[in-house]
């Protein structure tokens, strides 16, 4: 069953002299109990896509398209209605825990606050639920920790507390934006296992954002590869990681040194740099860096098509419609 369905999402930023399309006609869905991973390099639009679902984009952003959550278009409902969904039905885990917590209040106060806002609970009940949740994410001595301030938590603990906060209201969808970036591998493993365990046991739906291909292949059921605001490839982990089709996906995967990479072997690297949004021209936005580019790619933006069942790619090199375009020219 589909929980979230995004259709033709486009996000444009107005700057003083021009406007930039940062997310370009993106469509995807998240099923109940499913984790969809979004992977992409810096600036590809991962964060603003998730902020648009929460309706938390900055004021200079213009959004078009549809975001159906339980059949309701989140872009059309009133702010009051959205306020009831945000933090209750949909919650977010951030990379930087300090964006989720206020340093001036105890963890307990901040947990209770969320429960008071969304559920009609007593103070005692709020405390009980908060402590249970802290315990669930493995915070030692949760009764004591309830009264502590964020800075009294260690790095790994505060990250887990944020996960606890996001899960407190039994949300249906959790969006995790780089929840382990910058953590030690040991703590990362702890946090990933925790998220996975909770996600399974409560049949939660998740959007898991990262630029780490290893992490995403551990966490996601399906993966979306984003490049400069466009979806290049979507499919199961098996499709996207093990049988990738798009030259960008292939390039990314080959760039990562693994424990098996030998020292004498040169790492693959995608030539050039990610262009800026301003530099995007009419054709495929990977054109300038693509090892298999063709003439058609220069002026025609490829569309996402179903390469094999459930596996979508936007690349002319494998698109059967390529010839149709050619005959037009």
């Amino acid at each position: 069953m589909t929980l979230l369905e995004i259709k033709n999402l486009t996000i444009t930023f107005k700057t003083s002299n021009d406007s930039l399309i940062a997310v370009d006609n993106v469509s995807f869905h998240v099923d109940k109990g499913e984790t969809v991973g979004i992977v992409g390099e810096t600036g590809s639009g991962k964060t603003i896509t998730s902020l648009s679902i929460m309706r938390l984009l900055p004021s200079n952003a213009k959004v078009s398209g549809e975001i159906f959550f339980n059949g309701k278009d989140l872009l059309k409902i009133s702010e009051k209605e959205m306020d009831e969904i945000r933090g209750k039905k949909i919650s977010m885990i951030f990379q930087e825990p300090m964006t989720a917590f206020d340093p001036l209040y105890t963890i307990g106060d901040q947990f209770s606050e969320v429960l008071f806002k969304h559920e009609n609970v007593s103070k005692l009940e709020a405390k009980k639920r908060s402590i249970e949740m802290l315990k669930l994410v493995g915070i030692p001595e949760p009764e004591k920790r309830f009264y502590q301030y964020p800075h009294e938590y260690s790095g790994g603990m505060i990250q887990r507390a944020m996960i606890a906060l996001a899960l407190l209201t039994n949300p249906e969808l959790v969006i995790a934006d780089e929840p382990t970036t910058g953590l030690d591998v040991t703590i990362q493993m702890q946090v990933l296992n925790l998220i996975k365990r909770i996600q399974r046991s409560s049949n939660l739906s998740m959007i898991f954002i990262t630029h780490d291909l290893g992490v995403i292949s551990k966490m996601a059921n399906r993966i979306i590869v984003l490049y400069l605001g466009k979806i290049f490839e979507v499919g199961s982990v098996k499709d996207v990681i093990f049988s990738s089709v798009h030259p960008y996906t292939k390039g990314l995967i080959a760039s990562v040194p693994t424990l098996k990479t030998s020292k004498s072997q040169k790492l693959y690297s995608i030539p050039g740099n990610v262009p800026s949004l301003k530099e995007i021209k009419s054709g495929c936005r990977f054109y300038s860096r693509c090892p298999v580019r063709m003439d058609i790619c220069k002026d025609n933006d490829p569309k996402l098509f179903e390469y094999t069942p459930g596996h979508f790619v936007s690349c002319w090199a494998v698109d059967p419609n390529r010839n149709l375009v050619n005959t037009y020219e």
Binding site: L192, T258, L259, Y268
Partner: protein, 333 residues
């Protein structure tokens, strides 16, 4: 015989914890607590360990940015031995360079690239004319995939990967023998990381450099170093050839680190690894400092700090191997 380029002898770096209006010393953070390393010329070393294990402190001590509390770092340069904690002639000091993690803070935002790059060269008067120096720097920029005209731009006009290339140019412009790299690719995207790592490998060969590569990514450590040093709370727990250390880690901490690596295209078994919380660096456990997280902790571990000693070619600091040399089967992932 390999030429010894750096010898670290019982290095200790303690940071005082001060409190109160008179800033009394309340104790010490033992960031480096007695370590010995020998680095041979052209034998790149990678240093791994969790946050707070002392990697950066070690790197800064090697280039003379931190004065040791105890012990020595001896550096061989042109057949002479220098103590890194002493005042050094400029050519010696510049021959051991450091590149930092954050390409955004390591370049002065108010200076054009040329002004940042020329400063250390002018101190040494390496060039007869300004033009000669600019030619030299322009060539280096081209070598790392940038352009000559970039000399006249400001740091904010560059991406993270480009700034890291500029830091590399700055380091190699002084014709060093050794470069300490402190997480040089941690803030970069994977595609940029691979470009920078390849560049570092090429430059190493061309300039005959020895790298000390600090990272928390073990795959990168293996790719960049012939040897890997594993640090835990200011001590070395294991040193071995990179391939061997990955293939057969002996220290329980090395095993823990390896079992938490999340890699692409590998099976992510759903094993629950017991990870534990690292203890506070102010209150280091008695005996072996890893014992509070160690699944094999024994009585002796609380009493005696195990020394680094040879076990099947690896240097390991663990009681499992120290006394009786018998093999104890450990559940190697």
């Amino acid at each position: 015989m390999n030429e010894n380029i750096i010898k670290i002898d019982n290095l200790k770096v303690y940071f005082p914890i001060r409190r109160g209006i008179f800033l009394q010393t309340f104790g010490y953070i033992k960031a480096i607590d007695g370590i010995n390393i020998e680095i041979n010329k052209n034998q790149d070393i990678s240093v791994v360990g969790e946050s707070g294990s002392g990697k950066t402190t070690l790197g800064k001590s090697m280039v003379g940015l931190i004065k040791p509390t105890g012990g020595k770092i001896l550096y061989n340069f042109n057949g002479k031995t220098f103590d890194m904690s002493k005042q050094l002639p400029i050519d010696v000091r510049q021959s051991i360079q450091m590149i930092f993690q954050d390409p955004f803070s390591s370049l002065n935002p108010r200076l054009k690239i040329i002004d940042t790059l020329k400063e250390p060269l002018e101190i040494r008067k390496l060039f007869r004319s300004k033009k000669e120096m600019i030619d030299y720097l322009g060539e280096l920029l081209e070598k790392v995939g940038l352009k000559r005209e970039h000399l006249y731009r400001y740091p904010h006009e560059f991406s993270g990967g480009q700034r890291q290339r500029i830091s590399i140019v700055r380091a190699i412009s002084m014709k060093p023998n050794v470069i300490v790299l402190d997480e040089p690719t941690s803030s970069l995207d994977v595609s940029v990381q691979s470009q920078v790592l390849n560049l570092l490998q090429d430059i190493k060969k061309e300039y005959n450099l020895t790298y000390v590569f600090i990272t928390h990514n073990i795959s990168v450590a293996k790719y960049m170093g012939q040897k890997i040093i594993v640090m835990y709370l200011g001590k070395i727990v294991e040193i071995n050839d990179a391939d061997k250390l990955i293939e057969k880690p002996f220290h329980p901490y090395t095993q823990l680190l390896l079992s938490t690596v999340v890699e692409i295209k590998s099976e992510h078994a759903e094993k629950e690894v017991k990870i534990g919380e690292p203890p506070s660096p102010v209150n280091i456990p008695s005996g072996c400092r890893f014992r509070t997280r160690c699944p094999f902790a024994m009585e002796i571990c609380a009493k005696k700090d195990p020394p680094l000693s040879d076990h099947e070619g690896s240097l390991v600091a663990c009681h499992l191997y120290s006394n009786q040399k018998k093999e104890i089967s450990v559940n190697n992932s």
